[in-house]
């Protein structure tokens, strides 16, 4: 594998944090469903100093939003390091490679390769999907451009290559569950420098997954960041448990969320005032954040976990208390390099 002439593969902040052995923190920034750059600024200012890099989602759940790379360019201007998400749903291999050349030229240094949510979930379900390539092939294409200086076609190119610290997702509890460590191995073989997992609420099951990952030696070849996220309500916890593939939410966590709202339980909708609902919501959110903090502390103790990826979807404000609560509030600072 080539390096960047500075001892690093790429030299992104995320790479430096991980290479130095710090427990990394990444977060997520969802671009707006509009052309409003202020949303990006506001969210970036909330996340800056509380994470080492921030994922910029790519039309997540197949809903049209400001593009990941465009938003990423704005995030770079705010002094926060983006992790560009790139899915295979909307672009073929030509568009993906061309967009990545631009992303690098615009200053982006981290990339997360995803297959992408199916368009039937989003706000344009009658769209044609692409899926010219899949996430594993995308990893190979990106590392091919970086390390071999070739496009997917095998054609070499002149001039600077796009150098990305490249990541992939892993879903430890999706079916077929026995195959999941091997699929992760395929992603590592394809060149994944880091991994961000699906949301973990069941630490015991995740520890078992990590046991298999360690047996395959994968934790020594890639940096594994466990996905965590604060729950907003007991209903959200139940929804995820029952409807989102690959998310296990233990009953104890759901009960804790219910307990947090116990003061308002058993009352009918019209018996609750606006203030009641607000207070209940705050109580739930506080408990959701507390559970997230505890999850991070438990996950941190698992061998082979290099960091956490905090997914506070449309709730970026939660990242600061989570990171501080977990004792990760002081993020390592490295001198910027080009």
């Amino acid at each position: 594998m080539t390096d960047n002439g500075n001892g690093y593969l790429v030299g992104s902040n995320l790479e430096k944090v991980l290479r130095a052995g710090h427990f990394a923190v990444t977060a997520e920034l969802g671009p707006p469903q509009s052309a409003d750059r202020e949303v990006i600024r506001r969210k970036a200012s909330m996340l800056k100093n509380y994470c080492d890099a921030v994922n910029i989602t790519d039309n997540q759940t197949a809903i049209v939003r400001m593009s990941s790379i465009g938003s990423g360019a704005l995030v770079v201007q705010e002094g926060l390091e983006p992790i560009i998400q790139m899915t295979c749903r909307d672009r073929n291999r030509l568009a993906i490679q061309s967009d990545l050349l631009a992303a690098y030229a615009l200053g982006m240094r981290n990339l997360l390769c995803l297959t992408g949510d199916h368009q039937s979930f989003g706000n344009h379900p009658t769209a044609k999907n692409v899926y010219d390539i899949d996430s594993i092939q995308l990893l190979q294409i990106v590392t091919g451009m970086r390390d071999q200086h070739v496009f997917q076609s095998g054609e070499p190119f002149k001039g600077p290559e796009p150098r990305f610290f490249v990541g992939a997702a892993a879903s430890p509890f999706a079916d077929p569950i026995e195959f999941r460590p091997y699929r992760l191995a395929k992603k590592v073989k394809a060149g994944a420098n880091f991994i961000q997992t699906q949301l973990v609420y069941d630490v015991e099951s995740f520890a078992k997954f990590m046991e298999k990952v360690r047996a395959l030696g994968l934790h020594e070849k890639t940096y594994i960041l466990a996905g965590v996220g604060p729950l907003k309500s007991p209903a959200m916890a139940r929804y995820m448990k029952e409807n989102v593939p690959g998310i296990l939410v233990p009953e104890t966590i759901i009960q804790r969320m219910e307990q947090a709202g116990a003061a308002w339980a058993g009352k009918k909708k019209d018996e609750l005032t606006k203030d009641d609902k607000k207070a209940r919501s705050s109580a739930w959110q506080a408990e959701g954040i507390q559970i997230c903090v505890e999850l991070i502390q438990q996950i941190r103790a698992i061998k082979g976990v290099a960091g956490v990826h905090i997914m506070a979807i449309e709730w970026e404000e939660a990242v600061k208390p989570i990171v501080e609560g977990a004792g990760l509030g002081v993020r390592p600072v490295f001198e910027a390099m080009n």
């Binding site: 291999r93 039937s120 390539i133 092939q137 294409i141 999706a174 395929k186 394809a190 593939p245």
Partner: protein, 227 residues
């Protein structure tokens, strides 16, 4: 085989418009087997249209005929007399049949009575399921005879994605996850190591993405010339 289903009567009536002499043309092959466009369906559709005509009182004449295969010239030639009498041909063959009729009888207006759906199999009584996407570069030898191009919602070559749950696809619980099926099959055959190989990006140029396709068999062309 090719699986199709009939359009709604309302849409068919719109397609017929003001035409007065309608010939419903059925096909005796795939669409007969999937109960969409055979002789029986042609007769029923013609009767339904006649009934509608009676109610609307517009004096339209509707008859029907079924050929063995709409996609071959020799069978279409057998109905040239009936075609001459009609001013609109309503094909309930697949999309290939509709186009063959348009090509063979260029002076006639032809409309489709079916939506051609997919290449598939009658998986149980009254149920048809997609099996092949005609991608032009078969990979079933790598996947235990289960096609991820046709049967995975994302056509993944290195599946399964994170949306596989309890054997079904997250897109719809009625869709079995193709990669779960592949995983189970390769496990039962002791060939799971095949799944550890990374499959390279597919050559979609052999699929429809390469433009309309054609196969030319010079050996058969020469044989025909010699006859």
């Amino acid at each position: 085989m090719i699986i199709a289903e009939q359009k709604s009567l309302a849409e068919i009536k719109t397609l017929i418009g003001d035409h007065q002499k309608v010939l419903v043309v059925g096909c005796g092959t795939c669409v007969t087997v999937c109960f969409a466009g055979g002789a029986r369906e042609a007769a029923i559709l013609a009767a339904s249209l006649r009934m509608a005509t009676k109610l609307e009182g517009n004096g339209r004449q509707v008859s029907d005929v079924t050929v063995q295969r709409q996609c071959e010239w020799e069978y279409l030639d057998q109905i040239s007399e009936q075609v001459k009498e009609a001013d609109l041909l309503l094909s309930i063959g697949c999309g290939i049949g509709v186009q063959a009729i348009a090509e063979r009888f260029p002076e006639k207006w032809v409309v489709p009575g079916l939506n051609t759906s997919f290449l598939g199999i009658p998986s149980e009584q009254g149920v048809w399921a997609e099996r092949c996407a005609a991608c032009g570069d078969c990979i079933l030898g790598l996947t235990g005879g289960i096609c991820p191009i046709a049967r995975c919602s994302k056509s993944l070559l290195n599946g399964p994605c994170g949306g596989s749950e309890n054997g079904h696809c997250e897109v719809n619980p009625d869709i079995p996850c193709a990669w779960q099926l592949i995983y189970d099959r390769l496990t039962s055959m002791g060939k799971l190591d095949m799944l550890l190989e990374i499959q390279a990006p597919k050559n979609w140029g052999k699929s429809r993405d390469g433009g309309p396709r054609k196969i030319i068999r010079e050996d058969l062309r020469l044989a025909a010339e010699e006859e």
